[in-house]
């Protein structure tokens, strides 16, 4: 058996997988494989017989890896989840960052830590990107709804665009609601009334 730690990264998105591999390569000299296909995940992992598996917590396929934690599972050696044997701080950081790791029982913590640190840093960045993307999307959708609500008001009340927006904003302030929520209510009501 080679001395290099063998790591499997389960990640269907090719760009993300490459970023994770790059981060790990910077952290040390590892033998890294990426599995993108989730069907038959446990079988694929078994074929590589890795020391460690990294997987996104948000990935529902993670449950497939639980089979590996059974002593009678596909890996000959019992596998324990990383969180069993590491210090709580690192584990908590991993969970918050959204990464789970499965490692072969008995692996020295000092060999696992740099891998986890690199993975946690990378996943934290993914999390930020995910949040930013969601926020941007929401802002875009809200702007669209506000535009439609403005259009409805302009048509129904014969007012200008600025005036329509001022009315939406005033209503929102009076009712202690967000402009986007008032706009959504108006659009929904208009849809119902035909």
């Amino acid at each position: 058996m080679s001395d290099k730690l063998s790591i499997i990264v389960v990640e269907p998105d090719r760009d993300r997988a490459m970023l994770i591999v790059d981060s790990l390569a910077e952290a040390g000299d590892y033998d890294i494989h990426v599995i993108a296909e989730v069907t038959g995940l446990a079988r694929r992992v078994k074929a590589h017989n890795p020391d460690m598996v990294l997987v996104d917590i948000a990935n529902p396929s993670r449950d497939m890896l639980e089979e590996l934690t059974l002593a009678s599972g596909p890996l000959e050696r019992p596998v324990a989840m990383f969180v069993d044997q590491s210090d709580d701080g690192l584990t908590r950081a991993a969970i918050e960052a959204g990464v789970s790791a499965y490692v072969v029982a008995g692996l020295q913590p000092d060999r696992v830590k740099p891998v986890m640190d690199a993975a946690v840093a990378r996943f934290n960045m993914f999390q930020r990107m995910r949040n930013e993307l969601a926020a941007t999307k929401r802002a875009l959708e809200e702007r669209k709804v506000i535009d439609r609500a403005k259009g409805l008001l302009m048509k129904a009340r014969g007012m200008g665009e600025d005036e329509a927006y001022a009315l939406l904003r005033k209503t929102a302030m009076d009712q202690n609601r967000r402009v986007a929520d008032v706009a959504q209510a108006l659009v929904t009501a208009a849809g119902l009334l035909g």
Partner: protein, 394 residues
């Protein structure tokens, strides 16, 4: 009074209904608590959220706390099942190809006879390869029911049956891709497979075991014991939510609540099938009615019987080669009838006198000794008529 906020994790399934109804219908508020319901992507991540304190309590597969007491599965902390949230509610489905072969061997898809369905399955399965069946998690009632059912009929695992984990949302895809021949899954995923034309339904889980504890309310044991008053409020809120769900008049509203984007985000019509027990079993729209397809209240459904946990421990021990007596002792303690009882004493809930029963012995609705004298048990028989005797202890 400001409500105390509790983080409670759930998986988007029909049987998360007691937690969702507890929050949405005001049963939690009556107890002065507010449930922050956290949707989890997988059972393993939900279990980790519980172990590491991201949530105080969780909707959990009944065998998970038992398995963790036996040292199986990757958990660090001891977990306790403090209530049963639901009994039954799972369904076994087969691929279109296997359904066609079942018809060839003369199976009628009657949807209630586990022996007939199992024997047909044995005749229909390919002789040279094991039957591949998907379940949501290695430690699940789904897996236990399959092992029990098929081995009783002479189809032992792993020689003739290969039970593998497939996340429920991917079950229909795995079937279409030819990765599995059959599955056992919780609703709505059986119905969704039918809707997608990926397979047909063969049997409700209830046909194998009439009263199988399916999901439990789980908490970390140390938290449950140190926060018993707070836990008690949660147990009572869930108990009242279960009683509300058991009213036929509640079904429509319950389905509406579950269908919301923040919960299951699926069409009401599909969710109503399991709540009403009227399942559409194939793409031609054939329906089958199953009384008590999923239970939330009747027959003392929320009570975590020690004997239920012992049955699970017994099955797990037999399969993984653990010592039976030690497993029964450790696993039986994972269902905390004591905490459940303490939370409900003095409330309107009636409680049984005993905390263990002979599993499988009730063949017709039976009155039992209870605090208010109004309690009866529903049939809990196994399809093959065997019974399971609890250990004597505690």
């Amino acid at each position: 009074m400001k409500a105390v906020s509790l983080n409670v994790g759930f998986i988007p399934l029909v049987d998360a209904a007691p937690l969702i109804a507890a929050q949405e219908m005001g049963f939690a508020a009556e107890e002065g608590i507010a449930l922050e319901l956290v949707k989890a992507p997988s059972w393993s991540s939900l279990r980790d959220m519980l172990v590491f304190g991201r949530v105080e309590a969780a909707h959990m597969l009944s065998p998970v706390p038992v398995a963790s007491a036996l040292g199986l599965g990757g958990t660090g902390a001891a977990l306790s099942a403090v209530s049963v949230l639901s009994v039954n509610g799972t369904v076994i489905g087969v691929s279109n190809a296997l359904a066609a072969r079942l018809r060839e061997v003369g199976h009628d898809f009657a949807f209630h006879d586990a022996r007939a369905a199992g024997e047909a399955l044995i005749r229909a399965k390919p002789a040279d390869a094991p039957l591949r069946i998907g379940v949501p998690f290695p430690f699940s009632m789904h897996a236990e029911l399959l092992y029990y059912w098929l081995s009783a009929l002479g189809l032992p695992a792993p020689q003739s049956v290969s039970i593998r984990t497939v996340p429920p949302p991917l079950m229909a895809d795995a079937m279409a891709a030819g990765e599995i021949d059959a599955f056992c899954v919780g609703e709505p995923w059986g119905s969704i497979t039918v809707e997608n034309g990926a397979g047909e339904l063969l049997l409700p889980g209830k046909a194998i075991w009439n009263f199988a504890p399916e999901k439990v309310l789980a908490a970390r044991t140390d938290w449950a014991e140190s926060e018993e008053a707070l836990l008690g409020r949660l147990i009572r809120a869930c108990w009242r939510a279960g009683r509300w769900l058991a009213e036929p008049d509640s079904r429509g509203l319950a389905a509406e609540l579950l269908s919301r984007p923040e919960y299951l985000n699926l069409p009401v019509e599909v969710l109503e099938r399991s709540l009403s027990g009227r399942m559409v079993i194939n793409g031609r729209g054939d329906t089958r009615e199953t009384l008590g397809f999923v239970g939330f209240h009747k027959g003392c459904a929320t009570f975590p019987w020690r004997s239920q946990a012992e049955w699970i421990a017994h099955q797990l021990a037999a399969r993984t080669g653990l010592d039976r007596d030690a497993a029964l002792r450790a696993g039986g303690g994972a269902f905390r009838s004591d905490l459940h009882r303490a939370a409900l004493v003095g409330s309107e809930a009636d409680l049984p006198g005993a905390s263990a029963k002979i599993e499988g012995a009730v063949t017709a609705e039976t009155s039992i000794a209870s605090a208010h004298g109004q309690l009866s048990l529903l049939p809990d028989s196994f399809f093959d008529g065997r019974v399971f005797e609890p250990s004597r202890g505690k």
